[in-house]
Symmetry: C2
Subunit: 208 residues, 2 copies
DNA sequence: AATAAACATGAATACTGATTCATGTTTCAT
DNA sequence: ATGAAACATGAATCAGTATTCATGTTTATT
């Protein structure tokens, strides 16, 4: 149901009119940023278009120049979050040729990112109810990357044998849960300590 | 703001009128069961009182005889879920005097439970947005139990040393994530296989 | 059998909030 | 400089739905 017959279409993912001037560009960005703050703090349902536009400093109708529905801004935020997290972790694990070292660095980067962006974290969680497809894509993309890393590491003899898929989900679960403890349950445990304990478990758990 | 001054109050947690006859008892139960199905499948916001009562086969007004607000049924479902899960796991880990054996049995029981009650699983997740207090209580209660088990096992020399709190959240995260893969991402991987892989990771991760 | 308390009904209330639209204002290519 | 396209406005529309309430029915107790 993505393409209508015959006509070649834009390969973009965004719906709604994209801005065509610098002014429009700025406005769209302002709305998106406001949506992140408002939805992140109040939740999807309590975040009204009115709240978002007033936070962005524009009129209510302006919202619909750039987005077709409330749900659409939300999806866009989830996509953005995915790109950001993957980028952050890729950055942090750059240059480690040993999987286990990369694992530790990735966990640390993830926790730091989550602590710095509690809003986006909540938004992704809420996507399970607001936009299940976006939620699935987020985690499946993440899991796929994780899995292929594990497969490679196993082939290189850097970790023991074991089903990479289940391992990927288990390791993601550890990170997600520790991140949640940090931002949802407001733990004040220092990140390095958390990483030490968790990494020790992981390292023993999957080393050759 | 829980108690008004002076007067002794009921030590119960439930709000709203409790039924006083068998008939009322049955009606209340029917509404609760309907709420579980409807909220579990449509999500909190799309599940209207009308949907719930019609699913329960009663009039809309009847809802307010037993519950004060829509949020209240929801909270009650979350509480029920917590009791059920803890009971299930306590049952399953009964009789193992070794923590590691108990760990494996608990993981298996959890995954089986989640697969059998996908609705309740989603409800607990949604609680983060609908009723954060209930959500926190759910996980903190769970984590506290987990942690004390780990502390005891460590004292008994059944597992290696390590911060029990962080370990508890990490292990909970593994279970939660694998459960999610099962019911949200509809994986068809057999539970015993999942348990084998995950347990192997955990066992190596925390054994003495 | 009679009466009060419980229980049940469903239409009416009351409000919220997403989306539309007719009307202006600004930007930009020519 | 000027007209068309972009952009912006905010009041009005429109629908959904949580909660209330006046009225009726059932149950338990005497």
């Amino acid at each position: 149901m993505r393409k209508s017959a015959g006509v070649a279409e834009v390969p973009q993912k965004v719906q709604g009119n994209l801005p065509k001037t610098a002014r429009g560009e700025a406005t769209r960005r302002a709305i998106l940023a406001a949506a992140e703050r408002v939805i992140g703090s109040k939740g999807y349902n309590d975040a009204s278009i009115g709240h978002i536009t007033s936070e962005a400093g524009v009129a209510q109708g302006t919202f619909y120049i750039y987005f077709t529905t409330k749900e659409q801004v939300f999806s866009e935020l989830v996509l953005e979050m995915g790109r950001l997290v993957r980028h952050e972790i890729a950055e942090a694990t750059q240059g480690y040729e040993n999987r286990l070292d990369a694992e530790r660095a990735g966990l640390k980067a993830f926790l730091e990112f989550v602590q710095a962006h509690p809003d986006l974290y909540r938004i992704v969680q809420e996507a399970l109810f607001v936009d299940p497809d976006a939620y699935q894509e987020y985690y499946e993309t993440f899991a796929a990357g994780y899995k292929s890393g594990l497969v490679a590491a196993e082939a290189a003899g850097q970790i023991s044998e074991g089903d990479a898929d289940t391992r990927a989900w288990a390791l993601m679960g550890i990170a997600k849960s520790l991140g949640e403890q940090l931002v949802v349950f407001k733990s004040d445990k220092p990140i390095p300590d958390i990483v030490e304990t968790a990494y020790s478990l992981i390292e023993r758990g999957i080393r050759p």
